[in-house]
């Protein structure tokens, strides 16, 4: 019995160890980005390459931070992502509430359309959006690219939030109605606070999506003054030739908000991915 327990206990520890090893090997590219960004240009070219930097060199970051374009791109990314996030959630929340709780006619058709439209790739939408926005003089503006970004997250957020509203106990709305809350009043005062965790998850998703988006920015924003960091960071390549240290520092700066948001919301995000994409 004791030998069994012994084997069991160390078996578990061994499993954890192997798991950790898998994670480390698998996430090597992320590690390599960070480590490369902390190496001097001499060390980056050293053969054999060093798995850990000789000294933590911050020069790559400092020189990137002296680049005024970096601030411009980061600012643009923040404006676009925050607006797309707010816009997406504001549009989706009442609609998904109605789809979950109201006796809407044609609800089957709407749900079907939302699921189908979720699959439509940005590659298919970018050309017509570019044509429409060109005619409306909305290229080279935040508005156009923000709207385009919302198309990317809205269907997903709709589906995710609908599940959240479906899970709120029915009686609460009736109680609110008896207390004299109007339809929209119930929504704002009762339903939204109850689904706050899901709302935040959706907001995180919408932000992450917009922050990483490239194609819409590439097509809809010919003018550099509006470029987000995903587009702008690519210019650092031709600008510096192969300054891999600097490039990896920019890559790390660009990834940082995503990694931070992810760390704080990972529990919800893992659930959200399955709820949003498989169950529909």
């Amino acid at each position: 019995m004791t030998t069994y327990k012994f084997a069991h206990r160390y078996g578990k520890a061994l499993q954890s160890l192997l798991g950790l090893l898998i994670v480390l090997v698998y996430l090597f590219p992320i590690y390599w980005m960070i480590v490369s960004s902390l190496k001097t240009s001499g060390e980056i070219f050293s053969n054999p390459p060093t798995l850990f930097p000789n000294e933590l060199y911050l020069g790559n970051y400092l020189s990137q931070l002296r680049n005024s374009n970096l601030y411009l791109y980061l600012k643009n990314s923040f404006i676009i992502s925050v607006c797309a996030m707010i816009g997406g959630v504001l549009l989706a929340a009442p609609a998904s509430y109605a789809l979950a709780r109201k006796p809407i006619r044609g609800i089957g058709v709407i749900m079907f359309l939302v699921i189908i439209i979720q699959m439509v790739p940005s590659n298919s939408l970018v050309l017509p959006l570019y044509a429409m926005f060109s005619k409306a003089h909305m290229t080279d503006s935040y508005v156009g690219v923000i709207l385009a970004n919302i198309t990317g997250s809205l269907p997903f957020v709709l589906l995710l939030l609908r599940t959240a509203f479906l899970n709120v106990p029915k009686g609460l709305e009736d109680a609110a109605a008896i207390d004299g809350c109007s339809n929209w009043g119930t929504f704002f005062k009762v339903m939204l606070p109850l689904t706050l965790p899901s709302l935040l998850t959706c907001a995180a998703f919408a932000f992450i999506f917009a922050w990483g988006e490239l194609l819409y920015a590439l097509v809809l924003l010919p003018n550099q003054t509006y470029w987000p960091i995903t587009l702008g960071m690519r210019t650092f390549i031709s600008q510096y030739g192969t300054d891999w240290g600097g490039l990896m520092a920019t890559a790390a700066i660009t990834s940082a908000p995503i990694l931070l948001i992810f760390i704080f919301t990972q529990k919800h995000i893992v659930g959200g991915i399955t709820a949003g994409s498989v169950k529909g």
């Binding site: 578990k12 520890a13 954890s16 192997l18 798991g19 950790l20 898998i22 698998y26 996430l27 590219p29 390599w32 980005m33 490369s36 980056i44 390459p49 549009l91 009442p94 609609a95 109605a98 109201k102 006796p103 709407i110 359309l113 939302v114 699921i115 189908i116 439209i117 439509v120 790739p121 940005s122 590659n123 298919s124 939408l125 050309l127 017509p128 959006l129 570019y130 044509a131 005619k135 385009a148 809205l154 269907p155 709709l158 109007s182 339809n183 992450i208 490239l214 194609l215 590439l218 995903t230 960071m233 990896m248 990834s255 995503i258 990972q266 995000i269 399955t274 498989v278 169950k279 529909g280």
Partner: protein, 306 residues
């Protein structure tokens, strides 16, 4: 659920039912104007001769199937189509194999399993352009770490310019995309695994079934619906990969790593043949819609309650 219907329209306003629809209105309007109308716009554009001159204003003559003929007879389109299917097929196979292996492993009940599998998702969440840039660095011809490892292990005699050689460019993008997609597959498969009732395994153990038999007779058949949905979703997601190609090869060298999504982008936005670009993107769109319809069909069957 039976309702009496005296004067539907009157009731609609009297009982305040119209208020219900005000919740839907903003999102429905948005989807109609910025998603459904553009799809229509794109279909229409595919049948018209649209160039830089008449793009914003002016007559766009209706040419019916001319754009489609031009695209379908373009050898670069055929090349891109072939690459797309190689790309999608290889990615899906490896996504699934690694995703399933990871899911089975991290479904075990050991310390840290939960946060480890969450950590793996970083690969999937990270902006794809950034991932492309990281792989550009890892695969770099002279000083990339992969070349260093492969040459010092004696697997290849000398460094390869992975991204600038026509033999390896598509493979490199496939490599990067496999890396990106594994955690997503893992998460979906994990949710499937967790949906299998534990009693099934318990009674199988009592019956003396070994690990392999438990996998073959319980895990695999129970997972099939999830797996089929996953392959469909995976196809759609892989089919539309753009950012990695933009970051790593721009479709080159000599179009060797071009897939349909990049082909239609180039037609429209570097050659400015918008009509043909629209036709090409409509062909991709058709393929995706067909798969999306199958997806809805399957997932409806799978859980009727949702």
């Amino acid at each position: 659920m039976k309702e009496k219907k005296p004067g539907r329209i009157a009731l609609f306003f009297k009982r305040g039912k119209w208020v219900d629809y005000t919740f839907l209105l903003p999102a429905v309007l948005f989807i109609a104007v910025l998603m459904i109308y553009p799809i229509w716009y794109s279909i229409d554009m595919g049948f018209r001769d649209v160039t830089l001159k008449n793009f914003v204003s002016g007559d766009q003559p209706f040419v019916f199937l001319k754009n489609f003929q031009a695209v379908l007879s373009d050898r670069f389109f055929k090349n891109a189509l072939g690459n797309t299917f190689v790309f999608v097929f290889v990615c899906l196979v490896f996504h699934f194999l690694f995703g399933f292996a990871f899911a089975l492993y991290f479904n075990k009940n050991f310390k840290g399993a939960k946060w480890m599998r969450a950590l793996l998702l970083i690969a999937w969440m990270n902006p794809t352009v950034i991932t492309g840039t990281i792989f550009e660095w890892i695969l770099a011809g002279d000083i990339g770490i992969l070349n260093y490892m492969l040459t010092s292990l004696g697997i290849i005699p000398h460094a390869i310019n992975f991204l600038s050689s026509a033999q390896t460019a598509l493979g490199s993008i496939i490599f990067a995309n496999i890396w990106v997609g594994i955690p997503f597959n893992m998460i979906i498969l994990l949710s499937g695994l967790q949906g299998i009732p534990g009693e099934l395994y318990e009674s199988a153990v009592i019956d003396g079934a070994g690990a392999w038999r438990r996998f073959r007779d319980i895990t695999w058949p129970m997972m099939l619906p999830t797996i089929s949905v996953l392959f469909l979703l995976g196809f759609i997601y892989t089919f539309k990969v753009f950012d990695l190609i933009y970051a790593m090869t721009k479709g080159g060298p000599a179009n060797s790593s071009q897939i349909l999504s990049y082909y239609s982008y180039e037609k429209s936005f570097t050659m400015f043949r918008f009509g043909e670009g629209a036709a090409a993107s409509n062909i991709s769109f058709l393929i995706i819609i067909a798969l999306a319809l199958i997806y809805v069909h399957i997932s409806k069957k799978e859980d009727v309650a949702a």
